[in-house]
Symmetry: C2
């Protein structure tokens, strides 16, 4: 009933989050001695992930559920696999062509499930079925399939339907709906004040639809929903999990918590109490408890003392067993067929169909190679979409632009006296940052760049809400583009559109550098 976090890399020296990812020796001990239910992985290439999942399964007493937060395809988290567009891109397409958007959602489910199996993942922590009806939401944002219950239900059921033929589990999250919060539950516990009627109208329908589509698991949100339980957050609420989800909505699959190390939980109770209360409330699987030994001991004590009945445990184990009978535990030995041409084509089509363009397009690069390619990202050390060969870097370089990459720690030092700046902003809702990285200071720097006519062209990758802000600042002539994607394919589509490049400008790079 416990799923722990581990690095997707093979070796201890590669662990990126040492506070949450234990070394291999301890992980192996846990899997063998505690008989854990599964592992959630982050980081590494798809080749590493394949070996890693084989390794973990070999250590396990009972075959493991191997989960990953792959809401935008396996490539969102693991290099080499397909990185699909953010779900909200489909919502933009649905506004024009609902049938096409549903086709894309179905393909996203198919592609994600198929590639997950190839690298050894058998549990998709997707789709997000939250209705993102609050633009200030720092944590859901473009991870949602839309901002109305109808669109979200249509698209997420299509996603689940696409994944269904494959032996993987799907997850509807974050029950009963995390779309209308301005507090990031990674940091603190948000309170939702909506009445029961509103929750039933807006938040619940997509969960009802996912359940009727046969979703395998439901992930709980770390939220306090006063209309349903004035005391306990959802993850620990028997009224909500057993009362609403099991009895009222009739969900018979796996109830999994969101990560228990999130601030929304740890600030509420001790790790011991969290583990016991969650099980009492009706949870089947505890995701990322602070320490699995503590969690198991606490639950054991609660069973010994009669606080938790053994039948409560047995029922969860039966559900987990049933789920495990559905999935496969042995990935293939080869990755060479990981990415299908259809996966790439689907990504391109979605990005093309959700691209937004305005101003005097195409842009002419300055003839004297005097342009500056100013790229703004959130965190230079946590950026998996830029490299020497990615289009946002390589195409402007070919057109004579000088590269400058700044992040939130260096943006203030940016020169404010360079004409012919191509500004490329990569921004989306960022968990753990509170403000999604778009602070008043940042806005002031952009305003200065705009007021002094330094910006010649603008591309926003990610958040449509940031685009809205830029609209209020720029002239109607300024060439601009918006794309939901940040991955190389999105960059290529945006830049080829901005500069009207018909051929593959990257085929003849002008670089002498070959790497060593």
């Amino acid at each position: 009933m416990i799923v722990v976090r581990a690095s997707g890399h093979l070796f201890d020296a590669q662990i990126r989050y040492p506070e949450w990812e234990v070394p291999n020796r301890q992980l192996q001990q846990w899997l063998q001695k505690l008989n854990l239910g599964g592992v959630i992985l982050l980081g590494g290439s798809s080749a590493e992930l394949l070996m890693r999942s084989q390794q973990l399964q070999s250590w396990a007493t009972t075959p493991l559920l191997i989960a990953a937060d792959i809401e935008e395809g396996v490539g969102q988290r693991f290099s080499g696999a397909s990185w699909l567009p953010p779900p909200m891109a489909l919502s933009a397409i649905a506004a024009q062509n609902p049938t096409l958007a549903q086709e894309y959602a179905l393909k996203m489910g198919e592609i994600t499930a198929k590639e997950a199996l190839t690298v050894g993942i058998n549990w998709l922590l997707a789709p997000v079925v939250d209705v993102n009806n609050n633009p200030a939401n720092p944590v859901i944002n473009i991870r949602a399939f839309g901002d109305t219950p109808a669109i979200v239900s249509d698209l997420t059921t299509a996603f689940i339907k696409g994944a269904k033929p494959y032996p993987v589990l799907t997850t509807a999250k974050h029950f009963p709906g995390h779309g209308d919060t301005t507090v990031d539950s990674h940091l603190d516990l948000p309170t939702l004040l909506h009445a029961d009627e509103r929750l039933t109208q807006i938040e619940l329908p997509s969960f009802v639809a996912a359940i009727s589509q046969g979703v395998d698991s439901v992930m709980t949100a770390h939220l306090l929903i006063q209309a349903w339980d004035r005391e306990y957050p959802v993850t620990l609420s028997s009224a909500i999990l057993t009362g609403k989800l099991r009895q009222q909505l009739g969900f018979e699959g796996i109830i999994v918590t969101d990560a228990l190390i999130m601030g929304g939980m740890t600030q509420y109770a001790t790790p011991e109490e969290i583990a016991v209360m969650a099980i009492e409330a009706g949870v089947d699987i505890l995701l990322m408890p602070r320490d699995p030994v503590t969690a198991i001991e606490s639950i054991d004590r609660a069973v010994q003392s009669g606080r938790i009945k053994e039948t409560r445990i047995d029922r969860s184990l039966a559900r987990i067993w049933q789920a495990k009978e559905k999935v496969v535990f042995s990935p293939p030995n080869s990755l060479f067929e990981l990415i299908s041409p259809e996966a790439t084509k689907t990504t391109e089509s979605i990005l093309h169909n959700s691209l937004q363009v305005g101003g005097n397009i195409p842009l002419q690069p300055p003839p004297d190679r005097s342009g500056r390619n100013l790229i703004v990202i959130d965190d230079i050390l946590n950026c998996n979409f830029l490299d020497i060969h990615t289009p946002a870097v390589a195409i402007p370089k070919k057109l004579g632009y000088q590269l400058q990459i700044v992040d939130r720690n260096t943006l203030e030092g940016v020169q404010l006296d360079t004409r012919n700046t191509l500004l490329q902003v990569f921004i989306r809702g960022n968990p753990f940052r509170g403000s999604a990285g778009f602070t008043p200071q940042t806005q002031k720097i952009y305003q200065q760049l705009i007021a002094t006519n330094q910006i010649q062209g603008l591309i926003i990758y990610g958040s449509p809400y940031v685009l809205d802000w830029f609209f209020s600042q720029i002239s109607s002539e300024l060439p601009w583009l918006f794309t939901y994607g940040q991955m190389p394919i999105a960059q290529s589509i945006a830049l080829k559109t901005l500069f009207n490049l018909s051929t593959d400008v990257l085929s003849a790079s002008s670089s002498q550098d070959f790497g060593f």
Copy 2:
């Protein structure tokens, strides 16, 4: 007789150098139809590399030599494997303790060979046996084992001896010695004006030693050595390759060119002429010709016309065959034993023993968490030693320093008004940059930081020549450290020394962020 370049990644979308790395479909065709001799790989994790080498061998008509430029262990180029210190660190140790330095060199050879085999590499393009007696050398620098013939010979023969028990090929490079040049042969053809006597005294002894130690191959330098051949560069010189290397030094192994796409060659002759002249001169293997089809056709025409004798080709093929009989072509299926504890211990010992420290150590971090951790690197997009968890980032963060990472494109925007700056400079000789990244403008920024007393502590990672410059600028009280390494282990040793941290400060990170 031809070795082409390929990406170490599995999928075309991951190709980082599209000008030099062809897509898989074309690579597979080349290997099958042209019956190429081998591939030189760059990029990817060790897990990817293992699968990649299996894939390439499966495509080949004749089993392939798989080469890599792993002068500092497999981990220098491929993540997950051991990244060993730069050879020049051993030279610093040899000055105190020659026997210990030789032991380390032997272990470096062993570790590199063993890990190479585990990922499918069977040809080490190492050791560099050049004598780096010119501090302004932009391309050899700390890649050399020292600046005298005696030290270089001692250490490189020990390296070769360490690799010898393993079924991999070793390479002495760059014949007859690339240590005394100020021109980067990646960009242009350097001319060496030394007389025969000096070449025999300084440049040749380490090659003579490597040959008597049984090195498997010798790589040619793209240099014009007027004392030996007034007309042709080494790579194309029969007088030097056949006259000196084969006949005078008696080398019977493989003569391989340095990459033929380097500026030192391409500016000298057409690809067609380069291929033919190199073979005429006595080369057995052409490394990275612009296009293998052109190279093969040119050589074929030269054989048809009688310009190259068939016996010349046959002799090379016999040598290549002999070398291939020595190596293995089937890596194991698992990587889990890739890194031995001894490899990590060796790296740590070398770094400890070559660390330099001065000024008022230890440094006290400012109590109000007002410090700035200013990291200067060459290129933010080509930096494999910094990440959220690496000590240069994580340790100062724990001590309250705010991170700023700048590279040569953003250094000019750095704030010059921040007291309590911990300055960490990662710099070494960088091919393709000419000046090794240490320009007058860069020096001026450092001078301003020093003159205004903003620097509280200084760590140089890489070039001892840059350290020498800082000595002329800083006060004797300023705490400073120099380490040859840039990898995480070097960062950890340097920072723990600077702040006198005895326990593992990283074990309890203060970050809430867990990655998603």
